[in-house]
């Protein structure tokens, strides 16, 4: 049974109503704090957009690229955001296949995280290329230049992987939303009703529709699982298929996938803690859920730590001087501060979650998740920049890469865009799956289990909520 609290029993027949009213209530009139958050995110996005317009007008030279560091913050952001997307698919698809019922409460927010993170990530290759107005050249289509893309290039694999991932994630999110949007349509009384009516596609809960819906949902989970593994493997091959020391490594695919899930889980915790507080969803997204996420963070942190050790060990054991100097430079060169911060944030700090007290303490959870986010961003930066800055030719080792204000602003803009989309989503769509929460109450023989609510003071009696509107 899903864990939605422990004390007061609500009559089974009222449990469904209560779920509806509790979750749909979150889509009600926004408060000042929400509006302020949206305004700040919009401002940040505007700042990023302005910086991009500067780069558009004056060219990529306004970024801090300097030979040989010709991939830097933009690609760091790209890999970071693709990574963030992965936990959503892990929670919504992989845990679904494993029948991990606790995922129910956090799956929707994670799926939304996936879609918005992939959207944000997919902007960065376009921002990074010198002439962004020609980005469509990345797609294979018959053209007047009579040229096709090079299908042997990992950058083209990225195009296919990301387009597929974005499309499948959007469909997965939308499919899960259809019955919930129908519930919102039936309860909504404001200007959004026609929008919900259109988006619900005329859903009426008939058995024929549920039958196909359940089947497709399971298939989407089955399709998304290998997809999520392939996407970050392909992103890792952007590096691993090259011959640059520090990049040319066979462990990159599993290492990146584990790192992606690790960072994504941290981002989900970072988002869920304020979300459950401000939307008063403590009865649904409980400490138990956050603790389970923290346990997954321990697992993925250990995999990432093991990968770091393997990388350094192989560099030493291979006896390859190029490989050795790269990793020596990574630890003790110009970027030592970033490397050591990354190591501490990703391999030491998350191990604090071995303590049950910290796993169940909201402040600790939030703080550690922020450290992991920072650590994983730094990991991508370290892999990209340190490897490029010390390539085969010592004459190229000119010194530190330093980002310009344009790169910093675009990075801020990307975070703002992600948070803005997430904020808009949570106020306009059910952020916890109403259907899955109800489904968790129904046992296989059709009996309702009891929904147990801890905080009676939060809501009025569920019995009166039948006619509630948003």
């Amino acid at each position: 049974m899903n864990s939605v609290g422990t004390s007061v029993h609500t009559a089974p027949s009222n449990a469904f109503s209560r779920i509806d009213s509790d979750i749909l209530r979150t889509m009600g009139r926004p408060g000042y704090a929400y509006c302020a958050a949206v305004a700040i995110a919009a401002l940040g996005l505007g700042f990023g957009a302005y910086a991009f317009s500067v780069q558009w007008r004056f060219g990529i030279g306004v970024a801090g690229y300097e030979h040989p560091v010709l991939w830097a913050i933009y690609i760091t952001n790209f890999v970071f955001w693709v990574g963030i997307a992965h936990s959503g698919t892990l929670i919504s698809a992989v845990l679904f296949l494993f029948r991990a019922k606790w995922r129910t409460a956090v799956a929707r927010a994670s799926e939304a995280t996936t879609v918005f993170a992939v959207l944000t990530a997919s902007l960065f290759p376009i921002i990074h290329i010198g002439r962004p107005w020609f980005f469509y050249w990345l797609f294979p289509y018959p053209n007047e230049r009579q040229l096709w893309v090079n299908f042997r290039s990992p950058l083209i694999w990225d195009v296919f992987a990301l387009s597929t991932y974005l499309t499948v994630s959007i469909m997965f999110l939308f499919l899960g939303l259809i019955p919930d949007i129908a519930a919102a349509r039936d309860r909504c009384a404001d200007w959004r009703k026609p929008i919900y009516r259109a988006l619900a596609l005329g859903w009426d809960g008939s058995h024929r529709r549920w039958w196909h819906y359940s089947s497709l949902y399971a298939f989407f989970a089955a399709l998304a699982t290998p997809l999520v593994v392939s996407v970050h493997s392909i992103v890792s091959w952007d590096f691993a298929v090259s011959i640059l020391p520090g990049w040319h490594s066979t462990i990159f695919a599993p290492y990146f996938v584990a790192g992606a899930i690790f960072s994504g889980l941290a981002m989900v915790i970072t988002l869920l803690i304020p979300l459950r507080k401000f939307l008063q969803l403590e009865d649904y997204i409980t400490i138990d859920h956050l603790e389970n996420l923290a346990k997954l963070i321990i697992v993925t942190s250990l995999i990432v730590g093991y990968s770091y050790i393997t990388e350094f060990f192989i560099a030493w054991y291979s006896g390859n001087p190029f490989e050795q100097q790269t990793f020596y430079n990574r630890l003790f060169g110009d970027y030592w501060l970033f490397t050591w911060s990354m190591l501490i944030c990703n391999t030491i700090i998350p191990l604090l979650f071995f303590s049950k007290y910290l796993r169940t303490n909201l402040v600790a959870l939030f703080t550690i998740s922020i450290f992991v986010n920072i650590g994983m961003w730094l990991e991508r930066f370290v892999i990209i920049t340190t490897s490029l800055s010390h390539d085969f030719d010592p004459a190229n080792w000119s010194g530190l890469y330093q980002p310009t204000w344009v790169e910093v602003a675009i990075t801020i803009g990307s975070f703002s865009m992600f948070f803005l989309l997430f904020l808009l989503f949570i106020k306009n769509f059910p952020v916890v799956s109403i259907t899955e929460m109800k489904e968790a109450l129904v046992t296989s023989n059709g009996e309702h289990q009891e929904l147990r609510i801890t905080s009676e003071s939060l809501h009025s009696s569920a019995a009166s909520s039948t006619g509630d509107s948003i």
């Binding site: 089974p12 027949s13 449990a15 469904f16 109503s17 509806d20 294979p140 009579q146 096709w148 893309v149 090079n150 299908f151 042997r152 083209i156 694999w157 296919f160 992987a161 387009s163 597929t164 499309t167 499948v168 469909m171 499919l175 019955p179 129908a182 519930a183 349509r185 039936d186 309860r187 596609l201 005329g202 859903w203 009426d204 809960g205 008939s206 058995h207 024929r208 529709r209 549920w210 039958w211 196909h212 819906y213 359940s214 089947s215 497709l216 298939f219 989407f220 399709l223 290998p226 997809l227 392939s230 259907t435 109800k438 489904e439 129904v442 296989s444 023989n445 059709g446 009996e447 039948t466």
Partner: protein, 171 residues
């Protein structure tokens, strides 16, 4: 032949399934069920087997896989340009494209199959009337029976006996 439509409203899937079983056992009419969640009890009562949606996904996946190999192979022959000394048909990198397109086409055709099989989006005025009861997306289970006028009382009786909160004429 004239028919009447009876809508039985239940507060649990198990009771609704009991109602459906009674109607079907006595061959009183054709049944459509409505529920706020997918419900296994209703699955059993309506004897649903496996959704044919898997065929859509399989066919889409196969088409995607073939396309994923065909597109790069066609393009390398359309403009034969040796890069990096590799064979024109370099299967390992093409597997990546084929893998992604298998999933993409499988998912797209699955979605298309869902919309076709579930008859969505639904815009018909006639069917819209059935869904007027918004409690079916909330906490109620509906059993909609289309039956001969002579069986009306028997249908109502069967639904009531199964635990229907109400059994009234539907639209």
């Amino acid at each position: 032949m004239p028919t009447v439509k009876i809508m039985g409203v239940f507060d649990s899937g198990k009771k609704a399934a009991r109602g459906i079983n009674a109607i079907r056992k006595n061959d009183l009419g054709s049944v459509t069920a409505y529920s706020p969640v997918p419900d296994h009890a209703l699955d059993h009562a309506l004897e649903r087997s496996v959704s044919p949606i898997r065929l859509f996904i399989l066919i889409g996946g196969i088409i995607g896989c073939i396309s994923g190999f065909a597109l790069p192979i066609y393009t390398v022959y359309d403009w034969p340009l040796i890069t990096g000394g590799k064979a024109l048909i370099s299967l390992p990198p093409f597997v990546v494209i084929a893998f992604e397109l298998t999933i993409l086409f499988g998912a797209l055709s699955g979605m298309m199959g869902f919309l076709i099989l579930a008859r969505l989006p639904r815009v018909s005025r006639r069917t819209k009337a059935i869904t007027v009861d918004p409690t079916f997306s909330l906490d109620r289970f509906g059993v909609f029976v289309s039956c001969d006028p002579k069986s009306e009382s028997a249908v109502r009786e069967a639904l009531k006996l199964a635990g229907a909160l109400e059994a009234s004429r539907g639209a």
